[in-house]
């Protein structure tokens, strides 16, 4: 592959769109969390859980934003392990917040 040439398989574009889809899914689940707390009333634990969940959402947005920015190169560098780990940790934090909100 020569630098600057467009990949005929549009791999960077597909990866960028995959990040966008994932961000969108994360946003939908974060909105469900918001709805959960609004429905149940703002208890102390629920508020803390919601705040944590929104932080996780922001963290995921940040990782996704940086990664999408890096997709502009003709041959993007591989995803870094800490970014993959951060994305997964944000997802896990959201799940833990959801579990807290059940009670």
């Amino acid at each position: 592959m020569t630098g600057g040439a467009r990949d005929p398989g549009l791999q960077p574009e597909r990866t960028r769109l995959a990040w966008r889809r994932t961000t969108l899914s994360f946003t939908v689940v974060a909105l469900l969390a918001l709805r959960q707390v609004l429905r149940a009333g703002l208890g102390a634990a629920g508020t803390v859980a919601l705040a944590l969940g929104l932080l996780a959402w922001l963290g995921f947005l940040r990782v996704a934003h940086r990664r999408v920015g890096g997709m502009g190169a003709a041959e993007p560098a591989p995803l870094m392990v800490r970014h993959a780990l951060a994305a997964a940790v944000c997802t896990v934090v959201l799940a833990v917040c959801a579990a807290v909100m059940l009670f």
Binding site: Q11, R35, P76, A99, M101, L102, F103
Partner: protein, 150 residues
């Protein structure tokens, strides 16, 4: 920047420390990310991107399971609380497992590609589909017969 020439001459002999390691090695790689780069050759960037998209697809699966946990709690309000919380917790736990496994599998695939080995196989997809099937059947049974409990 190009990502295909940063590995240099180190293709890694059998005596290289990074080659050794047992089952716990994948977990250690999570927290020592630079070690992934040390091993083997950087694969074609398209393979890395494909691996990344697979990782994201698994993250979306995890998010869908978590969303399902919220949905059970929010959209089946007439179920007994215990049943509702149990189903929701099962879905949330599946989501957590799915997210953790997504990173683990991504790291293992990335490492296998760098070393030129076969991609790792996994029975997680089967286990996950069985778990989802069990939750779905439980939900059908509960919705059909357990509607009265409060």
């Amino acid at each position: 920047m190009s990502g295909t020439n940063d590995s240099g001459p180190c293709t890694g002999g059998p005596d290289e420390p990074a080659r050794r390691g047992g089952p716990g090695r994948g977990l250690r790689l999570w927290f020592a990310p630079q070690r992934v780069r040390e091993e083997g050759d950087t694969p074609d960037y398209r393979f890395s991107l494909a691996n990344e998209r697979t990782f994201l697809a698994w993250i979306r699966t995890a998010l869908a399971l978590i969303g399902g946990g919220f949905a059970v709690d929010q959209f089946l309000p007439h179920l007994a609380w215990g049943v509702r919380a149990g189903l929701a917790l099962a879905l949330l736990a599946a989501g957590v497992l799915c997210a953790l496994r997504a990173v683990n599998h991504w790291v293992r695939c990335e490492r296998a590609m760098r070393r030129g080995e076969d991609l790792p196989v996994s029975r997680f997809p089967v286990l996950l589909s069985l778990a989802v099937a069990v939750v779905a059947v439980a939900m059908v049974v509960v919705v059909l017969f357990g509607w009265e409990g409060r």
